[in-house]
């Protein structure tokens, strides 16, 4: 469906800066700060807890984007499975503070931070020009279990089967790698 981007686009540019969704601003800000915590905290446990906060904030962002089913799946998969797996491995390794390894010197990290800032600018500057509205009408049931499931099992049945093969291979690989001897 082509969207008309004629005279109303100019008006949209004018009110671009003023209308920021407060719920999105709060949740997105929290998840950004928590993501910074993940990459900067030294202790893996602290980083994992920070990642929990980031994921919960992102679940709220998903809800604002009209995807309640995916927000629920996100909380289930990421905080329920992946984060628990991380915490389980952290507990199993039981790293002492001197076993955490040495980080790169501050100068190297500052250089990498600069490069990543450049990457952010490169990605964000063109994306900032995109002023399409999120208030467009959606089909009924958008983002619910029924519509996502219908699309998944009709148009994307092959991809669904391939994901199941991938997860099965991951299960075999995990068992093979983690087992001391078969």
């Amino acid at each position: 469906m082509k969207r008309g981007r004629g005279p109303e686009t100019a008006a949209a540019v004018g009110e671009n800066r003023v209308s920021i969704d407060p719920v999105f601003a709060a949740a997105g800000g929290i998840s950004l700060v928590a993501a910074l915590g993940v990459v900067s905290l030294r202790s893996p446990v602290h980083a994992a807890i920070s990642m929990l906060v980031a994921f919960l904030g992102l679940a709220v962002v998903y809800l604002r984007l009209g995807a309640p089913f995916l927000a629920a799946i996100h909380v289930l998969v990421y905080t329920g499975a992946i984060l628990v797996l991380f915490l389980f491995v952290i507990m199993m390794l039981n790293l002492k503070p001197d076993e955490l390894g040495v980080e790169y010197p501050l100068k190297t990290r500052a250089l990498i931070a600069l490069l990543c800032g450049g990457l952010f600018a490169l990605l964000a500057l063109p994306l900032w020009q995109d002023n399409r509205s999120l208030e467009t009408p959606t089909p009924p049931g958008f983002g619910g279990v029924e519509t996502v499931g219908t699309a998944l099992f009709n148009d994307y049945a092959l991809a669904f089967e391939l994901i199941s093969v991938l997860i099965m291979v991951a299960v075999f690989g995990g068992v093979l790698l983690a087992k001391r001897k078969l």
Partner: protein, 98 residues
């Protein structure tokens, strides 16, 4: 406006890239990859909402499946490495350096 969501997505991706490049703890590197994947998911959902199409949401489900598989394999490799080398520091893993 969609651009707020897209800039959040770009910021998460850049933060994850920083974590992968600048940290040497394997656990943190895996967590940073998760942050990057989530940044991409935000962009996919924002576009799905703008175009009113469910296809982007299905793709986010695929990304979540891949992320789950990737984390389970990554952590299994990490456990195997720690068992053999007693370290999680990527700077100590140099046996392929020649």
């Amino acid at each position: 406006m969609i651009n707020h969501y897209l800039v959040l997505s770009a910021a998460l991706f850049a933060i994850g890239t920083f974590g992968v490049l600048a940290r040497r703890n394997l656990l943190i590197i895996l967590m940073s990859v998760e942050i990057m994947l989530n940044g991409v998911n935000v962009a996919l959902l924002a576009f799905a909402r703008t175009f009113g199409s469910t296809h982007g949401q299905v793709f986010v489900l695929m990304v979540m499946g891949v992320a789950a598989a990737e984390v389970s394999i990554g952590l299994a490799i990490l456990i195997a490495v720690f068992r053999n080398r007693k370290t999680v520091d990527t700077g100590d893993l140099k046996s392929l350096q020649g």
